[in-house]
Assembly symmetry: C2
Homo-oligomer: 332 residues x 2
């Protein structure tokens, strides 16, 4: 039913290779035959079969976009940006949701079956082993929002979570908080541990500052709410650095619900700066996660890998800055 290159060749009265060359940029073809071919092609409504061509070229222009964060609004921003960037370069996102997947083998097989040219793993909670096993399976991989290391096995782009912890600590100190807490996400994520490291390190320089740490069950509103409710019942700190904006909003809810006010009674500092953090009803002071730049960097890297440049794996750190809104008291 669909019209093939063969049909076009026949209609234009040329060989199949001539038609093929007509559609491959930079190939040698005369204006005369090009005209004939293009005429025939548009008459028949021909468009080349990308899958068939991938058989011989070995390139599919398919890029696996793998994530387990389908509940965090900031990932909608990610999906928006990453699809646009890929499309802009003629690449196609093959979306993989591994929310209930604990083992990479399945997704590896699937991505190999579709011979994706590269994979973008987008997650801050996935164990490092996930992305590395993609690499070991022979794929080109970029890990966005991953953990930065000195000797990376693959390309990693994201904020430095240790640094983010330090930034958070400095911000709270600057505003005169002395009894502070870290309301973290699940301990299983390396990002959680890294942030804790930086946060504790920076606070540790001050003798008069106390730190309490607790872990929410998940990066979710409910988990943040539950954990903050528990904290309030035990006598809360003056301010909390939360592992995530959604978690923060859960915490805010619990605080208001307890009849306390933010930032007068308790301060909250989020992380990510998702769009909604700026909505007045929420108005969350938070650390900005530069999704746009990370996406652009990631897709750039993919593009470069596909053009043959085999660069050594590197970690690329992005700056994270505090966005001031209404959930921390002003500096004294």
């Amino acid at each position: 039913m669909p019209v093939t290159l063969r049909d076009v060749a026949q209609a234009a009265g040329v060989s199949r290779s001539a038609v093929s060359r007509c559609f491959t940029p930079g190939a040698s073809i005369s204006d005369k035959t090009r005209a004939k071919v293009e005429q025939a092609a548009s008459d028949l409504g021909y468009s080349p079969n990308a899958l068939a061509s991938s058989l011989t070229t070995g390139r599919t222009k398919l890029v696996g976009v793998v994530s387990n964060n389908f509940h965090n609004p900031i990932f909608l921003e990610f999906f928006d940006r990453v699809t646009r960037e890929l499309q802009g370069r003629g690449l196609r996102p093959l979306l993989v949701n591994l929310s209930d997947e604990t083992d990479p083998t399945q997704s590896i097989r699937m991505l190999q079956q579709y011979s994706v040219d590269a994979v973008i793993v987008a997650s801050s909670t996935l164990p490092v082993s996930f992305a590395t096993s993609y690499v070991e399976a022979g794929m080109r991989v970029v890990h966005s929002f991953g953990r930065l290391t000195d000797s990376p096995k693959l390309h990693v782009l994201g904020i430095d979570n240790v640094e983010a912890g330090r930034v958070a600590a400095r911000e709270l100190l600057r505003r005169g908080y002395r009894r502070v807490g870290f309301l973290a996400g699940p301990l299983s994520a390396t990002s959680t541990r890294d942030r804790h490291t930086g946060f504790a390190e920076e606070l540790g320089r001050h003798r008069d500052v106390s730190l309490s740490v607790s872990y929410a069950q998940a990066y979710s509103f409910d988990a943040g709410r539950a954990e903050m409710t528990r904290l309030l019942s035990m006598g809360p700190a003056e301010a909390y650095f939360c592992g995530d904006d959604v978690l923060s909003i859960g915490a805010l809810s619990a605080i208001r619900d307890a009849g306390l006010s933010v930032p007068d009674d308790v301060g909250i500092l989020g992380l990510n700066n998702m769009e909604m953090a700026g909505w007045e009803l929420i108005n969350l002071t938070t650390i900005h996660n530069p999704v746009d730049e990370i996406v652009r960097g990631s897709v750039d890297l993919v593009d470069r890998m596909l053009s043959g440049a085999e660069t050594a794996p590197q970690s690329i750190a992005f700056d994270c800055k505090v966005v001031e809104r209404g959930t921390l008291r002003p500096a004294p």
Copy 2:
């Protein structure tokens, strides 16, 4: 570099067809050769090339997921559900972001090039012509969140927007509101017009009720905020039916900002019931859009179309119910 069916055949000492049959369910093969083949396959780490097989079978198991709603949080719920459902049936989502696309031709070509087995168009703002031109290009299409009609050219699943308008009207009337407004999304969307139709129709049965209508520039927080600010300056209605939750939250913001209170001074009724509508800081009374069921229905339909059952195009309506929270006053 990658291991092919040929390699496996050689290693197992059988013909290529034997290996192929071993991987096609329901094919005739003896236990003995099956064992040999499976041994060889797992030794070599073979996984069949889905693209190559699609060449002869004509099926790719690729499903285009096309949307222009990458800014509305409810679509993150959609992406989560739809990817899971597709994956659960061995189908692969090829994501297409047509946020800045006004013309279907490009995406049609692209989807044809990758010979997707079917397309799910997910949007309530895309003109009907978009989905129908996919159909005309010969693709199997399901339109989720589309406009229901009596004689559809394609499968459409979603709430009946006219009915949603009626439901909204009845809810406001029940609570004793008499001067009401429709704070709609852009007029270009058919969903906007349908909701208006139902809303006005139901209100029209009551002589003592007045209706004002205005249109936000987009389905966004800022647009909702701006429009409500304008409305407040001209003397607002008692309650508004908003075209969308995000729009509603923008409106809420403007109202609070003006020193008025919800629901005492102004009532707000949203539409969609996205997850955040339930967060206490927002606590929005809204009409539930059953995303889960719509997705399940859509993927079911895709699945059925792919199993050969050529059913006539049909519109499937889903119920929409009001979820009561805190932005409408209680019935008198």
